[in-house]
Symmetry: C2
Subunit: 237 residues, 2 copies
């Protein structure tokens, strides 16, 4: 029944013969419409935003892009390939956001960490679907070289601030305490993001100022306890 649903669009090919072939290939519905790859990525981002990462369906994406279910395979191999691409784009933006935050911190290590932490959570809450996908290691090919490279950039800007905070040169290994600080900072911002996205703060938010309170109130209150390189952390120079 619905296998026929799509047919009329294809039958309208007859209209192409007599009329002038449209000079503007804007909404090209031919075999090669050029930008399918981008269209699929866009459709995927929209879909996971609507239905969540697990609500994603390759066929649905193909449907929205106006192509057959097998078309995406030619560009991305399989579902995992498409999702990996989308995750990579997420990491690209994420890396930019973190780098910008790091820069705002100037040469104050504590401020760099705080700015990055705030940016981390803000990105997560403003891009819930992309963020969720980025850390869904089961949906993404984490062995992909390009993916590894681009996702590591985000990690390295956090590590950079930690190195500055502990006075660790680029070539030497992070001390255990420095590494502990790194994990602690990463854990707290990642945990907050994950809990918030999982709706774990929703009840509290309802009591304490609505949904927007999470970013405007809960996050600052939490970041007050962001581990800082002050105690017994070795700070050289």
């Amino acid at each position: 029944m619905n296998s026929v649903k799509m047919q009329p669009a294809r039958k309208s090919r007859a209209a192409k013969k007599p009329g002038k072939t449209p000079a503007v290939p804007q909404a090209a519905r031919a075999y090669h419409h050029g930008n399918l790859r981008e269209k699929l990525v866009a459709a995927t981002e929209a879909l996971i935003l609507e239905r969540g990462v697990d609500g994603f369906s390759l066929r649905e994406v193909a449907r929205r892009a106006g192509v057959s279910p097998a078309a995406p395979a030619h560009h991305f191999g399989d579902t995992r390939g498409l999702l990996t691409e989308v995750a990579m784009r997420g990491y690209a933006d994420f890396g930019d956001v973190l780098a910008a935050a790091d820069a705002r911190g100037g040469n104050d290590p504590a401020k760099r960490l705080h700015e990055q932490g705030q940016a981390y959570v803000t990105f997560a809450l403003k891009n819930p679907a992309r963020f969720a996908l980025m850390f869904r290691t089961d949906k993404v090919d984490i062995t992909d070289a390009k993916f590894l490279e681009i996702s590591n950039r985000s990690f390295r800007t956090l590590e950079g601030a930690i190195r500055a905070a502990t006075g660790t040169e680029a070539e030497e290994e992070l001390s255990p305490d420095g590494f502990g600080l790194l994990m602690a900072v990463w854990s707290i911002v990642h945990g907050f993001s994950h809990l918030a996205l999982g709706g774990e703060f929703d009840y509290a938010a309802r009591m304490r100022g609505g949904k927007e309170a999470i970013l405007k109130s809960f996050l600052p209150l939490t970041l007050k306890h962001l581990p800082l390189p002050s105690g017994n952390i070795q700070k050289a120079r």
Copy 2:
């Protein structure tokens, strides 16, 4: 081809007629084998341990329990119902573990928090599949009354330690700073768990002592930065 693969097992039902009906209904394969509900739960836990939460399949579970695909529906409604039940059992154990850790802390609020934090992560890493499921709010019916009650218990034991730390009575609301401390502690242990389970520490673990280093080394190093009720947190009495 492989739709036939499973048939012989079902055809062996004929072996029941001529032989003596087994007096011991141990591996009962009759219509009512009594403990199907438990069997399904056990099969589900095994399956998500093997293939992850998303590798779960209701039909596969039914197959392992030796029943038809529609059998689980009668006990759990649908897939979500079954997963909700499994998540509840996870929360039951989780709550026990946290309560025991809390008790180990005696009346030292800082120690109570630290013990709970350590227990939190340890549970997550030793029960990866259950833990992942417990926080997959899309796979679980978080509106289920029984689920809410049992999952809130875990949250409340953490809150209890925070209340003790900030000297907040049971009937009064947590102060903003106390609430911030609560979120910070929760975030850091939850974030650590999530990152570790996502394999995000694997590369570092390979460099710094293998997989077991995560619990034995990484976790203590991280928990050094567990927020403590010392600074400007209001501590009454």
